[in-house]
């Protein structure tokens, strides 16, 4: 006489051998649930994008461009408030990125943002200024400006962002600020 028997097998990867019950009519199979949990990626602002102090021509529009590497250049009717720009406090935006070591990631940053201002003296609202040509540079990508990078073996990288502030002719003295929001995601 042949007794009934039961076999249960799991067909996922990385399995133990299935058990067979010859007479107990019960069988156990060992499957495995697998998942990779990745350390979240975060970006922390270290420095603001600062175009410094500048003067605007009454008759000619101009611009000041801050390079991700830190240099600044002026065009048209825009000029540094101090000779040579030494008092301007110019700096690119800088962010620290932390996450899973050696993982690739991507930066999403706007191509342009708008600065709002408050007139010095009256406190009234100043006309908006456009900031465009935002350029993203990653320390992990030495080949140039890019939005794709890779965290180092410590799970770190650094982002710098430069841009161009457009200054129309006759812009009044004002304090301007803008919000630059970036999004970092694993790729």
């Amino acid at each position: 006489m042949i007794l009934p028997r039961l076999l249960l097998a799991a067909s996922t990867a990385a399995l133990a051998a299935p058990a067979m019950a010859a007479s107990g009519q019960s069988a156990t199979a060992q499957g495995q649930a697998e998942a990779v949990v990745v350390e979240p990626i975060v970006a922390v602002a270290l420095n603001d994008l600062d175009f410094g102090s500048l003067t605007a021509s009454a008759t000619a529009s101009g611009s000041v461009t801050v390079d991700p590497g830190g240099g600044a250049s002026y065009a048209g009717g825009a000029a540094p408030a101090c000779p040579g720009g030494s008092c301007a406090g110019i700096a690119p935006a800088r962010f620290a990125v932390r996450g899973e070591a050696s993982r690739s990631y991507r930066v999403n940053a706007p191509a342009a943002i708008t600065a709002t201002g408050t007139l010095i003296g009256s406190g009234a609202t100043a006309p908006d200024l456009a900031i465009d040509a935002l350029l993203v540079h990653l320390d992990s990508h030495t080949g140039g400006d890019t939005t794709s990078g890779k965290l180092d073996t410590k799970g770190q990288d650094q982002i710098t962002i430069g841009g161009r502030l457009n200054v129309p002719a006759g812009t009044s003295a004002a304090h301007y600020h803008a919000t630059l929001t970036i999004l970092v995601t694993y790729s």
């Binding site: 006489m1 042949i2 007794l3 009934p4 028997r5 039961l6 076999l7 249960l8 097998a9 799991a10 067909s11 996922t12 990385a14 009519q25 019960s26 069988a27 156990t28 199979a29 060992q30 499957g31 495995q32 649930a33 697998e34 998942a35 990779v36 949990v37 990745v38 350390e39 979240p40 899973e100 995601t185 694993y186 790729s187």
Partner: protein, 116 residues
């Protein structure tokens, strides 16, 4: 948030019953399916727990760890009766630091209660 890598999917199990004879009669099987306990793993600062299992076994929507679920396998016609079923689950992750690769044992116990 899912990242690139292998696509998520359920585990698949195959249940095979050998009737032990070649009688030419249809039969059904009353079986009990058990997930013995909560599946859990701690790896560094990451804890993964599967406390709820879903399955496509007919008549069972959820497998509760430690609780037996009974179903009837119908339509068995030959000496060997085989059914495949899938088991999915909800992985709950708590993390205090770092990341981890989790490999959580997922035992399934099937018992034939009766041949009908």
């Amino acid at each position: 948030m899912p990242l690139t890598g292998s696509a998520p999917g359920p585990a698949q199990f195959t249940f095979t019953y050998d009737r032990g004879n070649n009688a030419n009669t249809n039969y059904s099987l009353l079986i009990a399916v058990l997930v013995p306990g909560v599946a859990s793993q701690v790896s560094g600062g990451v804890t993964g727990t599967i406390a709820r299992f879903d399955t496509d076994l007919p008549g069972i929507s959820e497998l509760v760890p430690g609780q037996t679920a009974q179903i009837t396998i119908t339509g068995c016609q030959r000496r060997i009766c085989s059914r495949s079923f899938r088991v999915g689950g909800t992985l709950q992750v708590t993390r205090t630091a770092g990341g981890a690769e989790l490999a959580i044992a997922l035992p399934i116990v099937v018992t034939v209660l009766a041949e009908l």
